[in-house]
Symmetry: D2
Subunit: 359 residues, 4 copies
């Protein structure tokens, strides 16, 4: 018997608006106990003082609490990514199993497969350091197994949510930490997670000394990592293809080499819908998952950008809006999961893009 993955994209009128999810549950389109993970793009600033994420999590947990045991709810990856700059539109993406008991046709192609896994709680001294990468690596391997994905080469996207360092945690570790700066710890934690994914997916062989946060030539083409203050462990969601799953959904990925690498995205869209014109594949695309960042060297194809010099707007906000505009133009939709902070996730100034689509 084959499993079937479903990906449901729903609108959000405000960070605490879960009405569309409630309606989908009520209508039987989503079974709460078969939800594997929830991603959302919320409308805060995506930086330290973004309270839209916490508000969405609180509202979503309140909605799901009557349906799930507390431990199941606590273990459910809820990845809120703040920042809908430019025309990006706040939205929910629910990854769930249909529960349909489908007979697997012998010649059916591999379909979208998904699973999550958790690391153990990290000690503050491990955050942003090789120990974190190793824990994430192992969690990715477990999630691959749970998703019945044959191997790393069939994985197209790994979402990681990871902890960060607060003053209290720095004190707990008696100063033996990667950094005592909260904002920096977010970047190092994301970077360590991304390199953990890269290790699990054989994109990187070993982790050289002091690579995290420094050696930007090491990166994963399939990792998307975000840090959250509410966690002490890392949550991992793996998406790929597996013959154990059935249904029409597929996933593909590419890497933008810089912030204007539209050809990479166009190539990905050609995979989804060969020969279709600009924006024509939109109805078949369920979700767009991308990372964006300002290049650290201050330029795009030799032309200066000002994202790192703007003391009024964080560079992460600039980058999301800009790459969001590019993706929206190519795809034809503004409900796009464009996330900032792409340390070791794609090359410096670029980032991974994944599409989930109906084949």
């Amino acid at each position: 018997m084959a499993r079937q993955a479903e990906v449901t994209r729903l609108p959000m009128a405000a960070p605490d608006d879960v009405s569309a999810i409630a309606a989908a549950i009520h209508a039987g389109r989503i079974a709460p106990d078969r939800i594997v993970a929830v991603l959302a793009k919320t409308e805060g600033n995506g930086c330290v003082n973004d309270f839209s994420r916490g508000l969405s999590v609180m509202a979503l947990r309140a909605l799901l609490a009557p349906f799930l045991p507390a431990d199941r709810l606590d273990a459910l990856p809820l990845v809120m990514s703040g920042g809908t700059e430019g025309g990006l539109s706040p939205h929910w993406i629910l990854f769930h199993e249909t529960g349909a008991e489908a007979e697997h046709a012998p010649d059916a192609p591999p379909a979208l497969a998904m699973a999550s896994a958790l690391t153990r709680p990290l000690h503050p001294s491990e955050i942003g350091r090789p120990a974190q990468a190793e824990l994430v690596r192992d969690a990715v391997a477990r999630a691959i197994a749970r998703a019945e994905i044959a191997g790393p080469e069939d994985v197209h996207y790994v979402q990681v949510k990871c902890p960060l360092l607060t003053a209290a945690r720095v004190a707990e570790a008696k100063g033996d930490v990667a950094t005592d700066n909260m904002l920096k710890s977010m970047g190092l934690s994301r970077g360590a997670s991304a390199l953990g994914v890269a290790l699990a997916l054989n994109e990187v062989d070993t982790l050289p000394h002091r690579a995290i946060g420094h050696d930007l030539a090491l990166w994963s083409a399939r990792a998307s990592c975000s840090a959250g203050i509410e966690l002490t462990q890392c949550e991992v969601v793996v998406l790929g293809h597996s013959a154990a799953w059935t249904g029409p959904l597929r996933i593909a990925h590419a890497v933008m080499q810089d912030a204007i690498d539209a050809p990479a995205v166009a190539g990905l869209l050609e995979t989804v819908a060969p020969g279709a014109g600009l924006q024509q594949a939109a109805p078949r695309i369920r979700a767009v998952l991308a990372k964006a960042e300002a290049s650290s060297f201050g330029a795009i194809r030799g032309a200066r950008h000002t994202m790192l010099d703007d003391s009024d707007i964080s560079s992460t906000r600039h980058a999301r809006g800009f790459v969001g505009g590019l993706l929206a133009g190519l795809v034809g939709r503004t409900e796009l999961f464009v996330s900032g902070g792409a340390e070791h996730q794609g090359p410096d100034g670029g980032g991974p893009v994944a599409l989930i689509y109906e084949s």
Copy 2:
């Protein structure tokens, strides 16, 4: 004898960096007394307290002062548009004549033609009202004549820089003004100018009562207007095609119907370079001139945007970065003149785009 237009795009390392222009003058590539207009994208916020524009103007005037009589310098349109959100790159665009005394080949096609004109100083009570539209209409007609453009149908782009209302000007008019709010007066002045262009280009027949700022169904597909505190008159620059001009440069325009109307831009690029792939026409494109704005109804193709609800970042900054990303992805370059505040310049939430290119 035919005239020849040249359009030179140059980088800017800071708002007061005119070194690239100085070098071009020194090398004989630009003759200061043949400059028709200068546009620039500077890195301020593009809103009320954007001092990057004034700094660029002051530096540019200091550079040109030794070459031009004071009245010529004063009459030269210098249009600084603030805001290089996302990956947009600060740059100068100089519109100048080569001065080459070219014999006009009998069968040579019409080429890029350009000229400027000024209105008389506006009384504060005229700003943002039909009187301004009529003055701009007449100035556009004069510039068309000066550029030896046969008629409105051969015009592809009109840049207008127009005055705004300050407290002092409101007092001067004894309160008989369109608004006593400075920021609002910028929008009304841009809108009145755009409708003046629309009248001159036969895009609109007459100006209904109370249309300015209200009837968003009236718009020009070829106007780009910005308001500046330093002006009392309107400066107009007209770009089009004329048989009296020669050389390889051409101009084309289109209208984005909304902020993600990539097909409109792709169609324009197809005009420039039929059959060329994504980003392949970049080397032949001299300048991209576009308007961007957040739709007033809070959505793009039915999906909510948050640009108008963000009290931390002005919607004009959001819109420039987002549309800038779309254009950069399609064109393959980040030196793009994307300007905000598109009242009556294209449909609500969309805007005109013009390309100057080598044929």
Copy 3:
């Protein structure tokens, strides 16, 4: 038998941190069913997209839900004011009754008295218009009665939380609204509420035609109003003195004539602690409740301010931080309830200040 009011100020480590309130309830210092109102200063931007307020409300309601019937919880005024600019510190202020059955000493002075009242739900066409002012006027009168305050002259502070106009409500009213701009509707609603308070307290005799939002010479010296999207009715909390109440707490108020009117505040502190030096009364001050705003005429005592020209930071954020610094310097503490948007609440550029203190 006399009632006794208590005012408990508690720290907040994040918008959803209700741990200090939980501890106070657990320790028996606060009885949930005797809470009259909760105010809080939360750390969002205090503007349209401030999600810290909603997060605090959700966390507080979750904390109180087990203790109160749903209708009691729904009717409890929870006034979250966003914005802790400068050194202001996020904090909770709980207004509650001790429940002590104290015999009233015959010669005991009047003590702090408090009560709340609600208006009926407002029709969208009433928001920001005289109808709202009249409803608030009547609710203030009811709260005065409930608090057993002898008359308007014994009232020192009235907190109003009031609704605003959203696109949906504008549509419901078929356009018959005070404004179709959401941000503007917040100001008009606050202003109408403040004038309602002024009517109830005999600070204003009648409401002239078109006074709301225009005639800034009409104002209350004791109103503090904030608008919230979650309401359809107005919530009113009245604080004053009454012989029916006992205990050590008192309240006093003054009006800052402009943003640097330290003498007004110093005079108020002299009331609290005659002859005490700068900052010496701090231990006896329970709560500081103030309004701040940028003067609409762009100057303070003739010197230009730039709050209204700053397109990067809202003037309300500037004003809160600046007046917050002045108050913190005089009082000696940063847990101050300084709220922005002072339409008809004190003179243009100034605002009311109230102190609750131990006599």
Copy 4:
């Protein structure tokens, strides 16, 4: 014969508004060739992309150019400090000599004395390191001598403007730099300058290894330092008392121990005008020169502040507005030179304050 110092405070309607200075020169109140230094508070964000400073400098230089030889103009300290948050008012402060040939009364008290000095250009590898501190120390000593101030104990304020590291300078030093981060280099350069002042004034004996930027217990009570991209050397202006100078002007200073240390400022005002009430000394105060910053430990007197967690507004902007409000309330004026970035200038979270006043 005695020299006489004059300090003239003038309003500024915009960063490029030098009209008040022009009028003062025209009226003979300021002799351009006797200007010692010019300070200004301009209305930009005070951070990396603050173009109001450059605009003011360009306008001021254009005004003074006809009066001064180029080398004199180049050597004139022009210290523009960005940021008029809250109600702070943009203004100029000109430090100049009257040129009056006054006979020095034998028993006349020491009066305000002033002089400037420059270091040699710094090599990029010296910026933010002990070498810079030593160069500043020596320049302060030279300025003290030029001002005929008897010794360090008679110095009350030292303004330093110092260079920062850009990408080009980092490359020039082949990476042998204190930091490759531009924003960080501003802090380290300010800190090194402040410690240089502390050495010159005997506030610190020696500079321990790695003290700059780390050992916040080392600080000057009289230094005010700002970094500017246009410099390669350090400019130093020393203000103090000297028997070689005459006239009514005096200077006094104090140190705020934290951001709400109003008593320290009140004590200073008591020096200026013993027994005068709040704000009563304002007419006699010519200039207020202060430093403000957010405490690095995230609290003021134990209460959490949110300045360091606000990703929308720089903590330096928060701190200036907040301390500006406190100072404006005590002094009674909003034209205050409150500058941010107080590394090694006063204790962590506090800063020096100096008053220039008529005795």
